[in-house]
């Protein structure tokens, strides 16, 4: 068990962050901004992401605990710290992990000024809600919790490994409005979810008076949907597993469809608003499905001895065997092979920004800092909203940002976010365009970079693109 706890936290160290890409959103100098808002403004003619290097993004985050909280150098015993955290966390706290690797990303503008873009990326997404009651039960047992109902419905987790093929179109339809849409084809390699669970476990003083307690499991229903997992267990070698997953990544898995929509609205010269909705879609799991459902209820009050008059050689009654059989009968395990639909976690972004500073582009005197077709000023401040729909409701973040284009080849975006992980998330994005090579790196929770262990979430994304602008 301790190795499990350690592994979880070590993984945390190397890859902490959240789903929100608050720094990358609105960074119109990078093509990856189109994946967060297909209706973002585009000022170049072509782009090519460097294969496998155009967008790298790995994350794990927790809404309630940091590595430092558990493993800090302290005179306080580590078990006491874990215990304190178990009671401090709520069942709404969660652990998430998201990883993306862009394999291909290309885009071009046609003669009618439609900008087409498409590509492939691989994504892993995982969320686990903290099952507080079960954690208390496992950590402390039930002896000191007579009468407390432990909620089995707190079991709530899901994970997906998939490849996404996407193709989008972007068009500035008039001076003020740019719109965009992106269709997505999901090819799921692995998936599991356990989100619709219910039931309670409680130990109470016996109401029947037969024994001291009654241990009652009521209305228990635990579901686990899996696709693509059990078939891997038949494979013998690691290579076979990898080959199987690669095959699924190229349309061989369970398929799904989705769409991203977005727009940018230039309210006036000073103000710009934008919004997008991503992953509006679902995966239809039809192949390699194995779902399990355990349901039932039981009231345990020990073993009642009957003292039957037995003769020599007679066996005693099978009390224990009967008890085990009764429990087995009370809880039915069904294995289900029915197809099921899994909604993708919908993400939403919205922003409004105020442009100011040195005039660039348009009819102003200086146009030496062209960063976008309609960018009038080299600085902006604004507000962003982000939400992602998770099994227990949306996780929301609000961001204040400042964007400064220092030169043709160097821009900076700084953010301050309030999210589910912290109330003081400071982010920074750096973008360079040297010749045709575009490089960006964005990170958040910078205040913890001197000691990552104290961060509950950290984001680090970077990538290389080739951007061609005929006007330059």
């Amino acid at each position: 068990m301790k190795y499990l706890i350690t592994c979880v936290f070590m993984f945390w160290i190397v890859s902490l962050l959240s789903q929100n890409k608050e720094v990358l959103y609105g960074l119109e100098e990078t093509p990856q901004a189109m994946l967060l808002n297909p209706g973002s403004r585009i000022s170049y003619e072509y782009h090519f992401g460097v294969p496998l290097l155009s967008h790298i993004h790995v994350n794990v985050g927790s809404s309630g605990v940091s590595v430092y909280d558990i493993f800090q150098e302290s005179s306080l015993d580590i078990n006491t710290r874990i215990s304190n955290k178990i009671f401090e966390l709520e069942n709404k706290d969660f652990f998430t992990a998201t990883q993306q690797l862009e394999i291909l990303n290309v885009g071009w503008k046609n003669k009618k000024d439609y900008y087409f873009s498409g590509g492939i990326y691989q994504e892993f997404d995982f969320v686990l809600y903290f099952p507080k009651d079960l954690a208390i039960l496992a950590w402390e047992g039930n002896a000191n919790y007579i009468g407390k109902e432990f909620d089995l419905g707190e079991i709530n987790a899901s994970g997906d490994l998939l490849t996404v093929y996407h193709f989008g179109v972007n068009k500035k339809i008039n001076k003020k409005i740019t719109v965009g849409a992106r269709t997505k084809l999901y090819s799921s390699m692995l998936s599991f979810s356990s989100t619709s669970n219910s039931g309670t476990f409680v130990t109470i003083p016996s109401e029947s008076g037969d024994n001291i307690y009654e241990h009652i499991v009521s209305n228990a229903t635990i579901n686990l949907n899996t696709s693509g997992i059990t078939s891997l267990s038949d494979l013998d070698t690691k290579n076979q597993v990898i080959n199987k997953l690669l095959g699924r990544s190229f349309f061989g898995g369970n398929l799904g469809i989705g769409v991203d929509l977005g727009t940018t609205y230039e309210i006036n010269e000073k103000w710009t608003a934008s919004a997008s909705i991503l992953d509006l879609g679902a995966i239809f799991h039809k192949k390699n499905i194995e779902s399990y459902q355990v349901s039932g209820e039981y009231n345990l009050d020990g073993i009642e001895l009957l003292f039957p008059p037995l003769g020599n050689g007679d066996s005693s009654l099978p009390y224990y065997e009967d008890l085990i059989d009764d429990i087995g009968t009370a809880f039915t395990l069904d294995t289900i092979y029915n197809s099921y639909i899994q909604m993708r976690p919908i993400k939403m972004y919205a922003s409004v920004k105020y442009n100011f500073g040195q005039a660039i582009g348009g009819d102003k005197t200086c146009n030496c800092l062209k960063m976008g077709e309609n960018q009038k000023y080299n600085q902006s401040i604004g507000f962003q909203y982000f939400s992602i729909i998770r099994p227990k409701g949306p996780q929301i973040a609000a961001t204040l940002f400042y964007n400064h284009r220092f030169s043709d080849y160097f821009s900076v975006k700084a953010t301050y976010s309030v999210d589910s992980y912290s109330y003081s998330n400071i982010g920074l994005g750096l973008i360079t365009n040297i010749k045709m090579v575009n490089f960006y790196i964005v990170a958040d929770n910078l205040q913890w970079y001197s000691n990552l262990a104290k961060a509950k979430s950290i984001s680090l994304q970077f990538g290389f693109n080739i951007i061609i602008d005929k006007n330059e």
Binding site: V67, N79, D301
Partner: protein, 180 residues
């Protein structure tokens, strides 16, 4: 010059981002993580009348019953059980003192642990409760986890043939586990 300073800033920032560190932590503490739940479970219960004695024979002084209790010899229990507290609550309305005996036996019927509880006499109108707590600490717990069955003997000092009454037992066990 300006371009160079921007690139220097970028280079420095990237280096800083990739050299973020983890400090003031000690992951060797993971060796000290110990999960120590205390799990309470009902154990045995019964209601015994004089007929349980007389059904075996006139003047019979002992009744016995046996149950397997494989929970004690599960690998999980053997590896992690550090202590067990047994609590027995006897309610006796017989007018004579009884004794209850709990023998923990392995598959060869060798006794590995035994509990003997004298039960005070009572009356129909005034049943008497006799409680007993048996704490089995680390030194003896290994004996408990070798036993896969429990034999319960109720022993009367004299015949119950003409006695009314009832012996009621309720019991529970608190298992103290230690998971590394």
């Amino acid at each position: 010059m300006k371009k160079k300073s921007h690139l220097l800033f970028l280079f420095t920032a990237v280096i800083l981002l990739f050299t973020a560190c983890v400090k003031d932590t000690d992951f060797n503490q993971s060796d000290d993580i110990l999960i120590t739940p205390a799990v309470v479970l009902d154990f045995l219960f019964f209601n015994l009348s004089s007929e349980n004695f007389t059904n075996i024979g006139v003047n019979n002084l002992v009744v016995s019953d046996t149950t397997f209790f494989d929970l004690l010899i599960e690998d999980f229990t053997i590896d992690n059980l550090k202590k067990a507290d047994f609590y027995f609550k006897n309610t006796n309305s017989f007018s004579i003192q009884l004794s209850t005996q709990y023998q923990f036996l392995d598959e060869n019927n060798d006794v590995y642990y035994e509990i003997l509880i004298p039960v005070n006499s009572g009356s129909i109108s005034n049943p008497v409760i006799t409680e007993h707590i048996e704490i089995i600490e680390e030194g003896n717990i290994v004996n408990l986890t070798k036993a896969d069955k429990v034999v319960v003997n109720v022993i009367a000092p004299s015949s119950l043939d003409n006695l009314d009454g009832m012996l009621n037992l309720q019991s529970k066990t608190i298992y103290y586990l230690s998971l590394e």
